[in-house]
């Protein structure tokens, strides 16, 4: 690992100042960034830990929204959302393993936008709002391709507001070694309308399966998906599964998620 300076500010204002310096990078739970640094795939001059900032911790529930502060760990998010948004709590409680969940954060997961991460599916399916120190970004605008986001340099996610759907479920087909999603599908129903977000499958990262959303409109049953086929074009094919396999899994997991709603 290349060396770097390290800061651990206790206020958001200090973090913003520290991150304004050239080649500074934010560090949340580090469960992706630290392995990346070990492989010398990143070489920041400075890491700014966000974990000692009290304002970035906690879960607030109200007005049909679960608001998770950015540096809330998966364990804390799962506990905080359990009563009001069980599907989100279940997703958070099944990321990685217990030790990873004690460090990894919602903000870190979204800012990294790993194509197989779980949280992006929840954010996109619920139409969450990603709040930063500068602005509010809708999930539809936030994800811009594999590992890509709308975040600018030095911009910090402060909280994520998840609208609570009338019904929701997340189905993850795990890659058993990494516990990332080989394919994960988050289905959220708001009234007649359903949103279906797929992670793990596409070379562009998380995406909405709009054909499935149309098929489920006004007829929210697993059978509504029977006639659909997802094209394997643009899907990930690797040693864990071909693009065709992931296309097939997407339909299966979407069906299971609808059935479990």
């Amino acid at each position: 690992m290349y060396n770097f300076d390290f800061e651990r500010p206790s206020s958001l204002a200090d973090a913003i100042v520290a991150l304004a310096q050239e080649d500074s990078q934010a560090l949340a739970g580090g469960q992706t960034l630290i392995p990346t640094l070990k492989n010398r795939l990143a070489n920041p001059a400075k890491l700014v830990s966000l974990m000692a900032i009290d304002d970035l911790q906690g879960v607030a529930v109200g007005d049909g929204v679960v608001c998770v502060k950015a540096a809330t760990t998966h364990v804390a998010a799962a506990a905080g959302a359990a009563g009001s948004f069980p599907a989100l709590a279940e997703l958070a409680g099944n990321i990685g393993d217990p030790a990873v969940r004690n460090r990894g954060t919602v903000g870190g997961s979204l800012a990294n936008n790993d194509p197989s991460a779980c949280y992006p599916a929840a954010a996109l399916a619920t139409g969450a709002t990603i709040v930063t120190n500068l602005r509010e970004i809708s999930a539809d605008e936030f994800f811009t391709g594999m590992f890509g986001t709308a975040l600018g340099d030095g911009e910090i996610i402060t909280e994520v507001r998840f609208p609570v759907p009338d019904a929701a479920n997340y189905q993850k087909f795990e890659q058993p070694a990494s516990r990332f999603a080989l394919v994960g599908v988050f289905v959220a129903r708001f009234g007649d309308r359903a949103r279906v977000a797929v992670t793990g499958a596409s070379e562009d990262g998380v995406f909405r399966w709009v054909e499935a959303e149309s098929a489920l409109f006004g007829n929210f049953t697993k059978a509504s998906l029977d006639g659909l086929e997802l094209s394997p074009e643009g899907l990930i094919g690797d040693i864990h599964g071909s693009a065709e396999y992931r296309a097939h899994l997407t339909k299966i997991m979407a069906g299971r998620a609808v059935a479990a709603c």
Binding site: N3, K38, S49, G96
Partner: protein, 159 residues
Amino acid sequence: MNEVSFVVNGREVSGEVEGRTLLSEFLRENLRLTGTHVGCDTSQCGACVVHVDGNAVKSCTMFALEAEGSNVLTIEGMANEDGSLGVIQQAFQDHHGLQCGFCTPGMVMSASALISENPDPSEMEIRDYLEGNICRCTGYHNIVKAIQAAAEATRTQAA
């Protein structure tokens, strides 16, 4: 270099570290607490699990400077005060929950975190909690038995 200080196994420690110094590295190289093992160094194997403020974490995937001001518990802190094996350690011996022993420090620390969170875990709950702890010798059965026995012994002690 940066100064870091925190509490390990009830003792205040401090030292000079680089930004990139991992908690596992600081524990092993600076403090000579070599019971914390580094098996994979890629967050997979869990041999390096310690508790930071009561939470199980992989010490190879956390910087020493992130532990500033915290309370760290390592495998060296799991024995009884007289030096005899703690409840979980004794259960691993009684149930043959280790062969080569390399993964055992992480297994014991994860088991300890599990039993604190869930005093009466089922077999499935134990296996699920050990998802991030890899053992290449035992096939896990005796580790699970040891943790079930340790949980029971802990409940009996508490009663």
